[in-house]
């Protein structure tokens, strides 16, 4: 036997493929899996929310103990006024627990249903609606979110997202911190069906309280006229928000369907 020194021409032990392509393919697979998981668990949340009793909800909120940090309350008088408005319409909605109103100084024209039976009203809202009926509709709309448990749906999805984020990134900070950062209540938006469901509940509450639904569209009318007065650039920003005219039309349509009258409102 004679030894013939030679080196192999090809290295067959190493695959000559593109690792970057492989990485992106696998990553896309993982992402697709996570997205499907998020979507499916979101549906589970929707089902679970219907079975959650108010006591369990309170317990859940106490356990998670999230600091929502909405801003400072500066006007106790107006806050008390809002509180009495909310208290007066609450019986019409048959809510299982009392809602506490918190008036926060901010230019935002908005009100938010915060988990834990708290409603945050931004002071910009009070400048945009002049009539009690108009204001009451917005409050009733937020109460409608409580009644339909949309805040729990939002929080449930936030919990799912936090768990997925913790699994993916290996969270170092506490669960509550991650949860609070995944759910940004200021920018959170409910789906269109949830919004129109809350609108429906609000209309019913308004009819129950005032005997008519006049003023329901006041906020949207006022926002619309303000929008029309804006320059082009500003319009571009606002156009990413839900169509106001659409919302007004839907409310009129809904009131008609339910057989509610829309009386004119005096300021």
């Amino acid at each position: 036997m004679k030894y013939q020194p030679s080196l192999p021409e090809h290295n067959d032990n190493v695959s000559h493929q593109q690792p970057v392509r492989e990485f992106f393919m696998l990553m896309a697979g993982v992402l697709a899996f996570v997205l499907i998981g998020y979507w499916a668990l979101g549906l589970v949340v929707d089902v679970a929310v219907d079975y959650l009793s108010p006591e369990q909800e309170a317990q859940l909120h106490n356990t998670l103990d999230i600091d929502w940090d909405m801003g400072e309350e500066t006007k106790p008088d107006e806050q008390a006024k809002l509180q009495s408005l909310v208290d007066s319409i609450t019986p019409c909605l048959a809510l299982p627990y009392p809602i506490t109103v918190s008036l926060v100084q901010s230019d935002a024209v908005n009100a938010i249903a915060v988990p834990g039976g708290k409603m945050v009203v931004f002071s910009g809202l009070l400048d945009s609606v002049s009539s009690t009926n108009g204001l009451m509709f917005v409050l009733a709309h937020e109460l409608g979110h409580f009644k339909n448990r949309d805040h729990l749906r939002l929080m449930g999805r936030g919990i799912v997202l936090s768990i997925l984020a913790m699994l993916a990134l290996g969270g170092d900070s506490g669960f509550s911190d991650i949860l609070a950062s995944t759910i940004n209540l200021r920018t959170a938006k409910y789906s269109q069906t949830r919004e129109s469901q809350a609108d429906r509940t609000a209309l019913q509450a308004l009819q129950c309280h005032f005997g008519h639904v006049g003023g329901a569209t006041e906020l949207f009318e006022s926002l619309k006229s303000r929008e029309e007065g804006l320059s082009f650039e500003m319009l571009h920003y606002f156009s990413s928000h839900p169509e106001l005219q659409q919302r007004i039309d839907n409310l009129h349509q809904l009131a008609k369907e339910l057989g509610f009258s829309q009386q004119k409102i005096q300021d």
Partner: protein
Amino acid sequence: MDSLIIFLVLLSLGYVFGKLAEGRHYRSIHAREEMLVRLPATSCKKPMEHSIPISHAELVHGHVVISVDYFKQMLAGLRNIFGGTIQSYETLLDRARREAILRMKERCPTANQILNLRIETSSISKGGSGDRIGAVEVLAYGTAIYFQQASPSLSHP
């Protein structure tokens, strides 16, 4: 968000420097293999030429520890989920084995043959699942034999 940025930075650093290091290492391996190709290292237990008497034999070994880069480690982690060949680790082991054999040969440049070659691989991992070191140690050892200098009396009895 911060951890995502750190992850992406580590990933690209790992890819760029891992690729550079691997290219440099392969160039070195190819050049040295060319130089040492005349010293056979086999798993045979007996010398290939029986006729030549052996003056002495010695144990030689070479070993190396090489780590994968962050990018390859992540790629292997993803492969772990879906299954399949972990191609990103192939070059790591290929380089480690060849380097270990080269180091072993470099210990005995004047030897005639290396017999009974054995290669052993062990993985070095430290820490939890989060930040573990993905490295392998490869040890190559064998018996280097030196033939007796061909003396006139031996070649022509």
